[in-house]
């Protein structure tokens, strides 16, 4: 890792008064948007809409964004989150269709997705390539490999008899996907906020040289960050495949921009401007609600994208305005 400008990182805020105002402004904006859609979009507050929003939109993006949070907290970025997701989905579908049991399929999928992260880790820690370029390479290779394997993007459907009902399963009345994302958020959130590992990641992300001069194994930390990030994406891949009962090539790339946006939105909510899991989850919710509400009031998909982009831009402008001048 370097202090290269290639590694975008959350704009750190150091100007207390503006920062405090900003931290209030964002939740206020969120509440305003919720209120607006509650009034303007019929059915927005209905149980059906809200639960579908959570189960279909929130869960997947949240997992990918959790993975992205790790990379950004360490001062890097992971452009290959979608690739990890896709590889996991591919392995999951392929293994189930080949007749292997669910445990093997799960294990294989997690392994396949995590391997993408391991590849990044090798490039970053072993060859000292910047995270941006390493994961950009993985993204290109991963996309091309999928096109080759799938005849240019043909979906691979799960055989009806091999379909596990993961997406619809419930434990104690709570849908399994929600439980999975909660568990993931809890483990990653704890590790980042309270764990020794999280502190090392923090130091690395803030000032790599200080991490090095303090005797931290900075390259090993960076490697684990990318492996852990890919693991979260692999989990999302399994869930996606189980939801649509298919592996749809390159579908992971759709999550990339939103995941980055969510992490940066979340970082502006933190007192120190640090990437953090609770903030990321709120950022994901923020994006989901906006997209869902716009859909309900009849905006087309493309206008939703424009609105989402404008929102992220707004948040980032906020965070830069909030920075100490001359920093």
């Amino acid at each position: 890792m370097s202090d290269s400008y290639l590694d975008p990182r959350p704009a750190r805020l150091s100007w207390p008064s503006r920062r405090a105002a900003l931290r209030l402004a964002l939740p206020a904006l969120f509440v305003a948007i919720l209120a607006f859609f509650a009034l303007a979009a019929p059915g927005f507050l209905s149980l059906g809409n809200l639960s579908s929003l959570l189960l279909n939109n929130f869960v997947l993006l949240a997992m990918v964004a959790i993975g992205m949070t790790c990379a950004i907290a360490a001062g890097g970025i992971d452009l290959s989150v979608g690739t990890a997701l896709d590889f996991s989905a591919l392995a999951f579908v392929a293994l189930l269709n080949a007749g292997s049991g669910l445990p093997l399929a799960l294990g294989g999928a997690l392994l396949a997705g995590t391997l993408v992260g391991a590849g990044n880790a090798g490039l970053i820690a072993g060859l000292r390539i910047s995270p941006f370029l390493a994961s950009l390479g993985s993204l290109f290779i991963g996309t091309s490999a999928q096109q080759l394997l799938s005849d240019g993007g043909q979906p691979n459907y799960l055989a009806p008899e091999a379909r596990p009902d993961l997406a619809g399963a419930r434990f104690f009345g709570v849908p399994l996907p929600l439980l999975a994302v909660a568990a993931l958020a809890a483990v990653y959130g704890l590790a980042l906020a309270r764990g020794r590992f999280g502190r090392q990641v923090l130091a690395l992300g803030n000032q790599p040289l200080v991490a090095r001069y303090s005797g931290l194994a900075e390259r090993r930390i960076a490697a684990w960050v990318f492996v852990a990030g890919a693991f979260a994406c692999a989990l999302a891949g399994i869930l996606l495949a189980a939801t649509v009962n298919a592996y749809v090539p390159m579908s992971g790339n759709a999550f990339l921009m939103n995941a980055i946006g969510a992490v940066f939105i979340g970082a502006t909510l933190n007192r120190h401007g640090r990437a953090n899991i609770p903030g990321t989850l709120l950022g994901v919710l923020f994006l989901n609600v906006t997209a869902n509400g716009l859909l309900l009031i009849g905006w087309s998909f493309y206008w939703q994208q424009v609105a989402t982009g404008a929102l992220i831009l707004l948040v980032l402008v906020f965070s830069f305005v909030g920075r100490r001048p001359g920093d």
Partner: protein, 516 residues
Amino acid sequence: MSAAETPPQAVVLELRGIVKRFGATRALDGASLRVRRGSVHGLVGENGAGKSTLIKVLAGIHRPDAGSLLVDGRAHAHFDPRQVERLGIRFIHQERLLPAGFTVDEALFFGQERRLGPWLDRRAQRREAERLLEHWFGLRLPAGALVGELSSAEQQVLQIVRALIVKPRVLVFDEPSVALVRSEVERLLCIVRRLRDEGLAIVYISHYLQEIEALCDRVTVLRNGRDVAEVDPRATSPERIARLMVNREVGELYPKSAPAPGAPLLEVRGLGRGRAYRDIDLRVRRGEVVGLTGLVGSGAKELLKSLFGLAPPDTGEVRLDGRPLALRTPRQAVAEGIALLPEERRRQGVALDLSVQENVTLAALPRFSRFGLLSRRAERRETLGLIERLRIKSAGPQATVRQLSGGNQQKVALAKWFARRSSLYLLDEPSVGIDIGAKAEIYRLIGELAREGAGVLILSSDLPELLGLCERIHVMHRGRIAARFEAGEADSDKLLAVATGAVAQQETSVHESIPG
């Protein structure tokens, strides 16, 4: 040269009472300088005396808070970089600033390209590059050679020629000889004399008093941001100039410790690393404070880095507590109980956007964690203890380090190693850029460390500091330890004389030129 209309020996450039403050510190406190046409004017001073700030004011990088700059008698409140170029003031810096991937002609004409209509006239550029190099320095270099393939001296020449293309009137050399070997230095001096004879006004900044004596017509001594004297170096001994440079006030700054050195902690024998340093023998015992000094380029800094695993040596051995060490990473060094307080505090010593607590525990995280989870209570307890012991002035363990003063940031950097319970402390310019009060406290802490049985090796260019703190001082010159002084037998003059090469003590051979 375009200075033809100016009468000989006229003052071309004058700085009057320049004041430059950074926050609470006054980097320049009324510094003045007068440079005449056709003369070489030396500028000397200890580190932190304000030389580089003065140069940056001259280059238009810093705006002075008070004082004026006069060119041919016309006063300016400040410069900006473009104006500086228009006025014909050019700079030769110590670091090689030309891009390694450029060819000779590209480097020479970068930003001042020869054009033919809208296009570059590469042919004219190449021809002129070769002609200029030959004309000024008798150097035959193909214009297509890459800068990165040239020797340090050749790159230096390139910088000078680059500055000469615009026909400057004032040329400022900022420690130009640091990267050169002796034979190359001789060449450089000849070049500078020739430029002077052409009628240029030259400012020559150097730590090496020999060069000043050999070259300069006048020399201004800078101390604490002020010009304390302007003398003729040929009529003044280097020892006297050194005395003028060194701050005399010592007082009660230093802890009076009764040295009771224990077992050998660090033993270095015959250590060498490439061109950086050679044949280094050094010993630090427990309870001992040992000093190391040398000018930029003397190898002292590299040596310190090697002892922290940052620049592995090629030859020789390092022992810690009698065990041989092969340090290749800082991580190994920290695991062995070695601590480094780096000079670049804000880049390497403390993480500015982390809290005091997060900084203090960073090197000792395993001590504060169980099953991978940190105990914030244990961290807080340790941090509070160290805040009190080191008298760190902050809003508490959660205060962001960026908000602290330089001295308190330095204490945080030191506290990190206290928390790690390090046994060998390598301190690189421990008091640079911190106020006198914090300085005294850092010195007190160094004394405490030694009394508790740690070994301390201080690299410093602040000579009174070394004399006040150390039981033994090693002086490096051009890659070797040129002299060792026991406490009491050294003074600033002697140290500086050895460091600058004015006296070649115990040094058997001068720096031979490097083959190839």
